[in-house]
């Protein structure tokens, strides 16, 4: 991956950020931490629901994205509405659906009253009482340390280790760059690869949730429970998610979402902004059939006419993007008392 344009943060600042990241008292009812939605063992996202569950069970409309390699993202969120990790941290802290704190002071006073945090802030910033920007800086320093590169693909492509990929995986990469059109958006450079153009496109992948039965039809993966009509009484109304448009109000941005980086993608199921596709196989199948009919869809999302072997090769390639660091990080981070 390219070099980072930031000076490395001090060990003590990263450590403070780590503590804050796992801190359940950072939510109004002491039940949520950043790590509850960005679970280290689940690729710093969540596998156990399509979209994240927040404070008091508020269901968020979007899937919790991975925070691995987040340092390289110039714009944050599926709709790119934020650009600074330090500022971003305050959005979940104050969002009534996520951590629900009633005010900034409420958070700062809780930290300022805790002897352990007092000590840490004193040592790093020279004052026992934290400020808003210091909390953001600490979380940012921690998040920037979540680097997970050095995948088998990197060894093969950028380190000249020819045997690091199998022939099938190499076929998959050829398709990724060629016939399957993937790299037009998931960019692979000459010297490094972040697997995203950090732009917004309409792939059309989202759930039509008028009813659970209808949701089931957006992918064959989804027919699960024996439940149909009986459920009517339980169902809540759902609003549509218009993606980038909700920030720009430009009709051309309706249903457009930021291109996801595909590094460590094997770890970040379920997929897309709403977790509507459960497996990599389902994602590849979705692109292969040219996606669903939605207004504004990118012209690059069109039937690809891949064979079953080609689809399997693409999936095999995507799985070569997993980094050994991604597997090792959770244990290391939790081991610190």
């Amino acid at each position: 991956m390219p070099a980072l344009p930031y000076p490395a943060a001090s060990e003590s600042l990263r450590e403070l950020g780590r503590r804050l990241f796992f801190e359940r008292r950072l939510s109004f009812n002491n039940a949520m931490s950043c790590a509850i939605c960005h679970v280290p063992e689940e690729g710093f996202g969540t596998h156990t629901s399509r979209t994240a569950v927040g404070l008091e069970g508020h269901l968020l409309p979007r899937n919790a994205p991975t925070l691995l390699n987040i340092a390289w993202r110039p714009r944050l969120f599926h709709d790119g509405r934020e650009s600074s990790l330090a500022d971003q941290a305050w959005l979940p802290l104050l969002n009534p659906l996520e951590m629900g704190n009633p005010s900034i002071s409420h958070v700062l006073e809780m930290l300022g009253a805790d002897p352990e945090y007092q000590k840490a802030f004193q040592a790093i910033f020279g004052s026992k009482q934290p400020t808003m920007s210091q909390v953001g800086e600490a979380l940012q320093a921690f998040e920037r340390s979540l680097v997970a590169a050095g995948s088998r693909f990197d060894l093969w492509k950028y380190r000249g280790q020819a045997s690091a990929l199998t022939p099938v995986e190499r076929t998959g990469f050829d398709l990724f760059q060629g016939k399957a059109l993937c790299s037009s958006c998931h960019v692979v450079g000459k010297d490094d690869a972040v697997f995203t153009d950090d732009r917004y496109h309409v792939t059309g992948a989202f759930l039509r949730e008028a009813s659970p039965a209808a949701a089931g039809s957006s992918s064959d993966e989804m027919a699960t429970s024996p439940v149909e009509i009986e459920l009517a009484a339980f169902v809540q109304a759902v609003r549509s998610d218009l993606g980038r448009y909700e920030i720009t109000m430009d009709p051309a941005d309706r249903y457009a979402f930021r291109t996801a980086s595909l590094r460590n993608v094997e770890l970040t199921a379920p997929y897309m902004h709403d977790g509507s596709l459960l497996t990599l196989e389902a994602v590849v199948e979705y692109y292969d059939r040219g996606g669903d009919a939605v207004p504004n869809k990118s012209p690059l999302i069109r039937p690809l006419h891949l064979t079953a072997e080609e689809r399997a090769a693409l999936v095999a390639f995507l799985k070569t993007l997993s980094s050994p660091a991604a597997a090792a990080l959770p244990t290391r981070l939790r081991a610190i008392p």
Binding site: R24, N29, N30, A31, I36, V39, E41, E42, T46, H47, T48, S49, R50, V53, E56, G57, L59, E209, P212, A215, G216, E221, M222, T224, S225, P226, V227, E230, L231, A233, F234, V235, Q236, A269, P270, G275, L278, R334
Partner: protein, 442 residues
Amino acid sequence: MKTLKQCFTAAATAAMLVTGLGQPAVADETCNSPYMSRLIKGQEQFLHVWTLGVKGMGDGSDKLVTVDSDPKSKTYGKVIHSLSVGGRGEAHHVGFSDDRKFIWAGRLDDSKIFIIDVGTDPAKPKVVKTITDFAAKTGYVGPHTYYAMPGRMLIQALSNTKDHSGVSGLAMYSNAGELIETYPMPKDQADIGGGDGYAYDIAINARKNVLLTSSFTGWTNYMMDFSKVLADPAAMKNFGNTMVIWDLKAMKPKKVLDVPGAPLEIRWNLAEGQDWAITSTALTSKLWLVKEDAKGEWQAKDVGNIGDPSKVPFPVDISINADGKGLWVNTFSDGTARFYDMTNPEKPKQVYEKVIGKQLNMVSQSWDGKRVYFTSSIFSLWDKKGADDEQFLKAYDWDGKELTKKFELDFYALKLGRAHHMKFSAKSDVASSDASLLTSRR
């Protein structure tokens, strides 16, 4: 550890008493631990209902609502007291301390536990202690079942602080509210049959030295809108499929039983020569029997459907008769109470059913089985929406053939909230306090 050992010595004594006296089994006055004293064999005077606050309704707070349940009283069938504990944290189950003087009332979201004095004046319960560090101290989230042990409270939680999944465990507290010990649920322990780590209910058969547990799901699912859970295959994978036989004295898991579909409440029939437990599975809508086979090995057996499983009736609370021969089974989706003849536990037979409301969760019956109480709420996010979201306490008389309504309280009209778990109480001169209490079930 000396204290814990004492606790199990007492447990063993209790077990001996049961055998020695050859008492008829089990009782309801429903769902109390065999270590609990002062069972009410006569008329329950008060009904305490642990109620979930609803945002914008009244004070919005979770509360313990006390209802006069004595037909001879002037305020019979009326709310006589309401104790707001502050905030909403997914109020759920409650349990008595072994001396029946305190109710431990828990919340599944913020994991707070309120110890409430109902012994001094059951008409005016009072919070005496709030445990706020359950999650921080145990690593578990969602304290669910409160099971009295001699001088102790054993708590089964539903989730954990690490990933909010269903992997959880048991925590032993002193009656004073201090954590003594935790016991993780078995997970992937090949030597005892695996285990999924999931947790739900506790039920003890001291004579057999067995603690039996069941398994449900984690925070992410029970705090998610129910229609979303059912439509989310990533979430539907995360339900418990096991029950666990524990060595009670050693507090060690001994055998994992396969019981697919989220086995929930467990009820023992502790009568001599019976020693079986029954549970229902929420997702597969079945009754399962746990019993020793001819070789003395504990086995779990599917003993029949509840309603039509294809319609997802969703069995929830169950309540067994004092003689172990009858069982109430509530199904949530169709709001129906069903009564089963359990004379042959291998072949439970449904003999009665009645629609109680649009949705139905908890059931509690008096010791003699003649009075049965029902409430409506399961979880704030699993209850039905709109007009189907009825919230009530309904009291009935049961003559063995028909339920006859005595009174009904609309918890929304009264601006109380969602009605969940119930416990009975009585002024001390009414409660029985003889040793036969030790024969009571769970």
